[in-house]
C-alpha cells in the first residue's frame, strides 16, 4: 500500500514536471478573449547535517521538493481570479526508509507530519476573486493579507498563520505564509490636498471558515522530525509533542476583524492598525502526569528515556492596536557611499490581555498555568544601499538592519514565561550584493537574540543562470553561550544545503 502511494506521488510529481517544463503552458493564454497568466516552479533541495547527535543526522537531512503552479485570470478589467496550488514532498522519508540511525532516532515516525503536505489547505494555497469597482476593492477567498513594514521580524503581520515546521532554511514565500479564508474590502478616496497624497481604508474579516493555526516546529523527533529542537532534559529526550489543543468552532467562534488606515503623506507611508481575533499560536500547559514514557519506544538509541509531554492548550484572543511608518531620510545620503539615502521602517503593536503560559520555577514539579498581560512589541529597520568599490565595483550592497523589542507589561514576579523575559531584544542584519550582471548573489544574514546571547547565521550564494534556472548553495550555523536557551535549541542543526529551482512563465 505504501509502495503504491509512493508510486502515485512519484508519478504525479513526474507528470507535473514534464507538463510544466514544456513551453505550452508557460505561455500567456487568451480565454474568452481575456488574458490568463500561468506560472510555476519546481524546486528540489538537499540539506546535509554536519553534526551527529540524537536530534539530528550527520549527512543527508532532507530532500524537499516543491511543485508550485499559479494562475491569474482577468475576467473583466475590474474582476480577476487568482489561484495557486502546491505539492510539497520531503523525499527523505523514502530515501531513509531502511536507515537504522534514522529509524532509531524516531525520525521516521514524523513521516505523517512532514513527508507529504497533503491537506487541502496545504495543496490549495490561494483561491480568490477580486473585484475593483471605482475606488473600491473587494477580495474574497483563500488569501494572504500582509501588514507591517519590517522584512525580518514579524510584528504587525498577524493575520495569516505561518508554516515553520521545516525550520528557517531557505524558506520560499509560498511555503511559509499560509493563506486563509478571508473577506477584504479596501476603499481609496480621491485626495485633493497637497500634503496628503494617498489614503486607503482596509477592512478584513475572517469568518473562521476553517481554523488553520501556525504550524510551528514541533518538539520531539517523532513529531518534529529533523527540526525538533534540542530540549535538554536530564537523562531523557522528548519523543513527541502531544497536546490537547482546543480550537475555535468553525464559523461560530474565532471570527477575526482587522482594520487599517493607510496614508501616503509628506513623503512618508503611515498606517494605523486594529485587530481583534485569535492568536495563531497556541498557549499550552503541562497537565498531570506531565511527562510519561509510552511503549513501545521507552528508551532512545542512546539509552536515555523517551518522554511524552501531556499538555492542554487553546488559541487565545489577540487584540491589538498598532502603527507603522516608513520614510526615506534623504538628508543622510552620502555621496561617497553611493548617494542612496537610508530608508527607515518602523512598526509598533500594543496587544491587550495576551495569554501566556506561566511556569512556577520554585515548584519541584511542572507547575504551569495561563496568565494574562499586555504585550508591547516594536521594531525598527534601516534599509540602506551603499557602494563599496573595493568589494564590488559595479553593484551596490543592500544592507538591512533591524532591532526588535518586546516588553511583557505585567511580567509575573515569581513565575516565568517560557522563552520570554520582561524585556526582550533581538537584532537582524542582512547584507547582499550581486556580481556578473546580477547572476551571482551572495548574501549573509545574522539574527542575534540579545537576551540569550545566541546567534543564527545564514550564508548563501545564489546563481541565476537565466530566468528559468536558479541554483542555491547555502548553510546555517547556530551558536550561543547558554545551552538550551534561545537559538541554541537548534545548535545541532548546522547544515549546508543545495537547491535547484526551475521557474516557468
Amino acid at each position: 500500500m505504501k509502495k503504491k502511494k509512493f508510486l502515485v506521488l512519484f508519478l504525479m510529481a513526474g507528470l507535473t514536471v514534464a507538463l510544466t517544463f514544456s513551453s505550452a503552458i508557460a505561455e500567456e493564454f487568451s480565454v474568452l478573449g481575456r488574458p490568463l497568466h500561468l506560472f510555476g516552479y519546481a524546486t528540489q533541495e538537499m540539506s546535509f547535517g554536519v553534526k551527529d547527535s540524537y536530534d539530528t543526522e550527520k549527512g543527508l537531512n532532507s530532500a524537499l521538493m516543491n511543485l508550485f503552479l499559479e494562475g491569474d485570470y482577468e475576467i473583466t478589467k475590474d474582476l480577476k481570479f487568482y489561484s495557486s496550488v502546491m505539492l510539497t514532498v520531503d523525499w527523505i522519508y523514502q530515501l531513509k526508509h531502511s536507515d537504522s540511525s534514522w529509524n532509531d532516532k524516531l525520525f521516521s515516525k514524523s513521516k505523517n507530519n512532514l513527508n507529504v503536505d497533503g491537506k487541502y489547505w496545504q495543496v490549495l494555497k490561494e483561491a480568490r476573486l477580486t473585484w475593483t469597482p471605482g475606488d473600491f476593492m473587494f477580495r474574497v477567498g483563500k488569501q494572504i493579507v500582509s501588514w507591517g513594514e519590517l522584512l525580518g521580524f514579524r510584528i504587525m503581520d498577524q493575520i495569516n498563520p505561518l508554516d515553520q515546521r521545516r525550520g528557517f532554511l531557505d524558506v520560499e514565500f509560498e511555503t511559509t505564509i499560509i493563506p486563509i479564508w478571508l473577506f477584504r474590502a479596501d476603499y481609496y478616496p480621491k485626495i485633493k490636498s497637497s500634503w496628503l497624497q494617498d489614503l486607503g481604508f482596509e477592512f478584513v474579516w475572517n469568518p473562521n471558515v476553517d481554523f488553520i493555526p501556525n504550524q510551528d516546529i514541533m518538539a520531539g523527533n517523532a513529531d518534529g522530525g529533523i527540526w525538533a529542537p534540542n530540549v535538554r532534559l536530564p537523562g531523557a529526550h522528548l519523543a513527541t509533542a502531544y497536546g490537547n489543543i482546543s480550537t475555535p468552532k468553525r464559523w461560530e467562534e474565532g471570527n477575526e476583524f482587522g482594520f487599517r488606515v493607510k496614508a501616503n503623506m509628506l513623503g512618508a507611508m503611515t498606517t494605523f492598525n486594529f485587530f481583534y481575533g485569535r492568536d495563531n499560536s497556541a498557549v499550552t500547559k503541562l497537565i498531570p502526569p506531565f511527562m510519561t514514557p509510552a511503549p513501545p519506544d521507552i528508551f532512545a538509541s542512546d539509552g536515555k528515556v523517551l518522554l511524552h509531554p501531556i499538555q492542554e492548550g487553546k488559541y487565545p484572543l489577540l487584540k491589538y492596536v498598532g502603527a507603522t511608518f516608513a520614510k526615506e531620510l534623504t538628508p543622510l545620503r552620502a555621496s561617497f557611499l553611493g548617494d542612496v539615502a537610508p530608508t527607515i521602517y518602523w512598526e509598533a503593536l500594543y496587544a491587550f490581555d495576551r495569554t501566556f503560559t506561566l511556569t512556577n520555577t520554585l515548584s519541584p514539579f511542572p507547575d504551569q498555568r495561563f496568565g494574562k498581560s499586555d504585550d508591547f512589541r516594536t521594531g525598527i529597520e534601516l534599509g540602506w544601499k551603499v557602494r563599496i568599490p573595493p568589494l564590488n565595483a559595479r553593484t551596490y550592497f543592500n544592507i538591512t538592519g533591524e532591532f526588535f523589542y518586546q516588553r511583557i507589561m505585567d511580567y509575573p514576579s515569581i513565575e516565568e514565561i517560557a522563552g520570554l523575559k520582561k524585556n526582550n531584544y533581538q537584532t537582524f542584519l542582512s547584507i547582499n550584493t550581486s556580481y556578473f550582471h546580477n547572476k551571482l548573489t551572495p548574501s549573509f544574514t545574522w539574527i542575534h537574540d540579545i537576551n540569550t546571547n545566541s546567534n543564527y547565521f545564514i550564508p548563501k550564494l545564489v546563481w541565476d543562470l537565466d530566468y528559468h534556472w536558479h541554483f542555491t548553495l547555502g548553510g546555517q550555523v547556530f551558536s550561543g553561550s547558554k545551552p538550551g536557551k534561545g537559538l541554541t535549541l537548534f545548535d545541532n542543526k548546522n547544515q549546508i544545503y543545495f537547491k535547484v529551482a526551475y521557474k516557468w512563465g
Binding site: 473583466t76 480621491k190 485633493k192 497637497s194 526615506e328 553611493g338 542612496v340 550582471h437 537565466d466 530566468y467
Partner: protein
Amino acid sequence: MKKVKIFVVCFWVLFLTLSAMLPILWAAEEYKVTAQDLEQYKKIVDDPRPYLKELTYKKILPPDVYAKLTFDVEEMKVQWAEVVGFRAPDEVGKIAPEIKPGTYSYKDKAKYPGLKELMIPLHYEEFFKPGGPPFVGCFPEIKVVPTRQYYLALPIAKATKENIGRTKLDDKGLIKEETYMAGVPFPKPEGKFKANQVIYNLLKRYIGHENQYFTATTRGFTRNLRIDQDMVNEACWIRFKGRVFMEPYGWYDERAKSVGEEFSFKFFYLSPRDMFGNVMTSMKYLDPDKYDQMLLYISALRRVRLMSATDIQDSIGGADVIYADSFIYSQKLSSTIFPYRSEVIAEREYLVPFAILDGSGYMSSKGMELHDYEWERRPMYVVKMTQLDKNFVYSYRILYIDKETFYPLLILNYDQKGRLYRSGLVISAYFPEMGMFNYTSDVMMYDHLDMHSSFSRTFVIPAPWVGRKDINMRGLVVKGK
C-alpha cells in the same frame, strides 16, 4: 449555523451581483494592446512584417479619440518648420554627399569611405557588421532612405509658438519652472546655456500623449547571446503639466499644480514568474532638488513598500539600465544633486536609424542582427554632459539628439575611468497623421563592461482612461499579485 447561512447568502449575493454586472463591465472595457496582441502582429524575432500598417491607431482608438489626436499633415509641416526655423531635408547632404539612398553592406566600408564620416563612430565601428557575440543589434547592411521632415503635432507647435521666449533659465542654467507653460521650451537653442536648452527640450518633450498605456517585451542576452531575461511589462503614464492634447489642458489638476508634479507612471510586470505581480509607481516632481517618490508593491511580500527614491544609480534587476537612464535619459538638471556641466560638442548631420514608419524593421534569431530599419541623414546635436560629482556612476554622458524634433536617438554613458559603460539606442515609431513620436519603439540597451545587452519592443496607445486611480496606492494594490 445562522452565521453560516448569512455568509453563504452574502457570498451568493456578491457572486450574482458580479455576474449581473458582467455585461456592463464588458461594455465599459478599457481599450489597450497587450503583449500578446502585439505578438500577433509582430513577433519579437524573425518577423519582417510591417506591423504598424496593420496595428494602426485608427483601428485601436475610439473614433472620437483618434479624431482629436490627428491633424492636417500639411499644416503641421508648415507650422513646425516655422517653430524650429528649418526643414531637415534642407539641412543635410553636406557630409559625404556621395552616400545616396540605397542599401549598403558592411562589406562596402572600403568602397564608401564616406560612411565612416557620416555615421556615429560607435555605429560604424561596433555595430555595422554581421551579428554575433558579444552584443545584439548589429546591422550587416543598412537601408538608406531620403531625409524626411519630421514635424510635431499642431497643439505642440501652437503651444511652443505661444510661449516662445517666455521660458527662462537662471544664472546656473536651470529652468525657472514658473516660466514654462507648454510645448517645446527652447525651439531655437542659443546662447551661453545652449546645451541646457537642448536638454530641457528633451526632458520636456512629449513622449507620446499625456495619458497613455504601454506594453513592452524585453529580452536580455549574455555575452554569448544566450537569452537570460524574458520580460513582459505594461505601464500607465500621466503628464501633469503642459498638457495640450487631452483634457484637462495645462495642469492636470490643482494638486499637481500645488505640489509641482511633472509626470507619474506605473510599471507592472506580467512575466517572468518572479516579477509577475510586482508593481512600481514613480512620481516625478518639477523641483530640481526634490527626489521622486517610488512605491513598490512587492508580490513576494504582498505589501506596498516605500522605496528609496535616491537609488537611481544601481542596475534595475540585472537590466542594462539604471533608473537615471529611464526613457534613455531622464535625470533632472540640478545644481545640488549630481550637477552637470553641459556643452554642445557637435552640431552636424549623421546617418542614423532614426524612426520607424511601418514597423518592418526586425531582429533575426541568427546573430541577433537588425534588418530593414531605415537609415537617414539627420541634423543632430551632440551634447556632452560632464558630471561634476566624482561619486556618480558616470563621469560623462554623450547624447545624440535630433535637431528638428529634440527626440533622443543614442546615449553613451562613460564610467569614472572613462570607459564606455552603458549605451542605449532608441528607434522610435513616428505617426505622421498625429505628428507624434511616442515610446512605441525598438530599444537596444548595452552594458559594455559586463558585455550584456537587451532588446525591447514597446507599443504605446494614447489612453484618456488612465487616471490617478491607476497610479496611486489603489493602482498598486489592484494590479499587484
